[in-house]
Amino acid sequence: MDTHSIVQELIALLGQESVLTKKEDLICYSFDGTASLKCMPLAVVFPTTTQEVSVTIQLASKHQVGISTRGSGTGLSGGSVPAENSIVIATGRMNRILEYDQENLTLLVEPGLVTNRISETVEADGLFYPPDPSSMKVSTIGGNVANNSGGLRGLKYGVTRDYIMGLEVVLANGEIAWLGSKCVKDVAGYSLKDLFIGSEGTLGIITKVLLKLIPKPEARKTLLALYDSMDDAAATVSKIISSKIIPCTLEFIDQYTLQCVEDFAQIGLPTDCGAVLLMETDGFPAQVESETEQMKSIALEMRAREVRIAATKEEGVALATARRSAFAAVARIRPTTILEDVTVPRDKLVEMTQFVRETAARHNVRIANYGHFGDGNLHPTILADERDEEEMKRVHHAMDDLITKTIELKGTITGEHGIGLAKKKYLKEQFQDHSYELLKLVKRSFDPNNLLNPGKIFDA
């Protein structure tokens, strides 16, 4: 492969200021938010239009080099870690809001737009874009779509997929396709946009996103319930769900995590309790009032030591923000944080959280546990030091056990982070019938030469 001429052609097509090739730059694009994974690309490019994405793909195709797409590089499964000798397409300079249609309640944006900007734009007009991954102040909407990101509000409002009405994508041959429409009902042909949602950059490159907006809930209340035992917190969640209450957020944090989060955020979280539940309800004021009271009494009935209700909106936001820092805050204990994303049916939550504790003890590893109890999505995070080989062996045994148990409980190995590189070896365990071949069949139809994010999800 002639790296020099590829770089020269990229510069000729996109301009010098849109192509990075120095070693120092490539190092900075060799990783994402995932621990222990890195690989240097051959170049990083910053297209500003769909057309530039298209010509970049055509060039890559001509030279048979891979392309990895990257938003802000906050992914947690290694999905945007470049494949070897690939070109990174960084979407950061395609970050405009193209159309804000308040009559049809849609927003058309470019993929490099930071997720949080969507809320900032529409909330002032009483509209709402619910998906709120913890990295939303940093992550891009393109990355969210490519990973079908979830967030704290998944329980009531669903995930990114539920808010995508249309996508523009550039295919592996450089052709441009528009998928979807502004119509609430649209059954023309296959729902191809849905194939691209969560495709982790392996089927095409997303260059425009048409988002669905909904009216913003009028009221919101945040509660914090403190428990001596994690099992009581889990039981509270089951009871709330079975009482037919769907709060927008039901998050749990265990004691390790709580201590780290408080150490960082310093907002007066109690660090001596076994677990806390962060609960949020939103909707019409009367409904919010009544659900707040019901959740409080269920928590107390399930032996919560105390239930605090945030006095102000700001206090509620501070609590949710602190929870969002959990993943990075636990690095205060040990430097290498291996984050799991296992998800189980909600009636299996107590069993799964107990299993996480037993696994930690069995393999003598530390596991901080937190996550989205309300939708069954747990983030057991194994805390280790990647330089300690013996410890890392134990860590991998613990991971294997967690995955096996999840599949046994009919759960999924990833609820919102994607497969990428980190979960790749486990995918076949979950897809035991012909479905695994079906995945590969889809990949081969869209990208026969395996140029788009090669090596991610599975080996094509």
Partner: protein, 432 residues
């Protein structure tokens, strides 16, 4: 790179410091240089990965790396955003020291200016004051106005032309002339005994702030000791890769106070305080000073932090009611994590309305000597800060660092007044 170049400080750092970053990216939106370019290399996460790669021996200390480490403002906003608690300041100073030790950015012009400023003037308080006196003569004699009027400045090289209006106005008297070495509250027996750091730029350009600080301390029943002929604290040196010189200055500073007899050592300049609190680490390998340096760290207090930790005496009103906005200096806010106290103090003045400043914790572009070394990026940040201040409608901006003070005043022009929060407090005490 010279053959006898010393071993790399980055490689001798405790590895846990380098390893602490788990590259989640939470720092990205808080970094002014990343905000400007959108390129990872210009972000905290990128810089940390480069420093770690150098420590791992997988990347040479290069000119590209060096330029990047001097493009960083060192504002430390990333450290406030970092859930993992990465000690960026520690790595950053080691990296800049490596760059200087290995002369990566060496040019004869740069060597001349660095020798004159960092290595000579800021090492010698008497020279600094002499220059201050000369500048005072130049400004007060009318020479400055005359030269400005006849357009002499246009003859200067462009980068000096741009900097000329930034020259601080030199005070009529330096600290030692208006603050006595020992001052006690007039009527009562003092509750506390504190040492006062008079600073270097603060001393010649803002000696009135030092007077005000002593007045506010006296009003709060503190006896104040201000040693004579104090020098620079070494912050400038440490942030610019001259760690050995910084150590000399730290030793001098420690020697000038009797630590056992003081409840606190008060700093009123955000940038200095951030460095002053880390003498323990700086002198950890100096057997003679290590222990005292740790004692020193435990006694250094920012003035706002100190006032909020003691029983604050009630404040009177200002002469005229005022709407004020507050710009926190980066090294007070992010470096020292003194986040709320200055606003709390200002809000306790009866006729002050404190207005919220958008992006308050965003750097103003002063950043030590950054506005000299990186004028373009500094100007972007200055403009952004000025726009945000103007949007508050306030004509008075409070800030507690001489660099920010000059940068913001210069950006806002003479219709606006930049004041140290403690000077505003001093006025309020004079009216009780």
């Amino acid at each position: 790179m010279p053959e006898d170049a010393p071993s790399l400080r980055l490689q001798s750092l405790d590895y846990s410091v380098l390893q602490q970053c788990m590259h989640c990216g939470m720092c990205l939106p808080t970094c002014p240089t990343y905000d400007t370019t959108g390129i990872e290399t210009n972000s905290p996460r990128g810089r940390i990965s480069l420093m770690r790669t150098i420590a791992d021996g997988e990347l040479e200390l290069s000119k590209t790396f060096s330029d990047e480490m001097y493009y960083c403002l060192g504002c430390l906003a990333c450290t406030s955003a970092c859930p993992a608690g990465v000690d960026y300041a520690h790595m950053f100073e080691a990296a800049r020291a490596d760059i200087e030790d290995h002369q990566l950015l060496d040019t004869s012009e740069r060597r001349f200016w660095r020798s004159l400023s960092v290595k000579f003037i800021f090492m010698r308080p008497k020279w600094l004051r002499f220059i201050g006196s000369s500048m005072r003569f130049y400004q007060q004699s009318g020479l400055q106005n005359l030269l400005r009027k006849i357009g002499f400045m246009k003859l200067l090289p462009k980068n000096l032309q741009e900097l000329e209006p930034m020259t601080p106005t030199i005070q009529d008297a330096f600290t030692d002339e208006i603050v006595a070495e020992f001052e006690s509250p007039a009527s009562t027996k003092p509750t506390y005994k504190v040492g006062m750091l008079s600073g270097c730029v603060q001393d010649i350009a803002f000696s009135d702030v030092n007077r005000d600080t002593v007045d506010v301390l006296l009003a709060n029943n503190c006896e104040v000791i201000t040693p004579r002929n104090q020098g620079c604290c070494g912050s400038l040196h440490s942030h610019n890769g001259e760690i050995e010189l910084a150590k000399d200055l730290a030793r001098k500073a420690i020697d000038s106070f009797d630590l056992d007899k003081l409840d606190a050592i008060i700093s009123n300049a955000g940038g200095c305080g951030s460095h002053l609190r880390h003498y323990g680490r700086l002198l950890s390998d100096d057997p003679q000073y290590a222990k005292r340096a740790h004692q020193w760290d435990s006694k250094v207090k920012d003035i706002h932090e100190w006032l909020m930790s003691i029983d604050l005496r009630e404040l009177g009103p200002l002469a005229t009611p005022a709407e004020i906005t507050y710009h926190p200096s980066c090294h007070l806010y992010h470096g020292q994590k003194v986040m709320k106290q200055p606003s709390q103090l200002l809000a306790s003045i009866p006729n002050v309305t404190l207005k919220v400043l958008k992006e308050a914790d965003w750097c103003c572009g002063s950043a030590g000597v950054y506005n000299i070394t990186q004028p373009e990026q500094a100007k972007l940040l200055q403009d952004r800060k000025v726009d945000n201040i103007k949007a508050t409608g306030c004509k008075i901006v409070a800030t507690s660092n001489p660099g920010c003070h000059l940068q913001i005043q210069n950006g806002l022009g003479s219709d606006y007044c930049v004041r140290h929060p403690i000077s505003i407090l001093a006025e309020a005490y004079r009216n009780t």
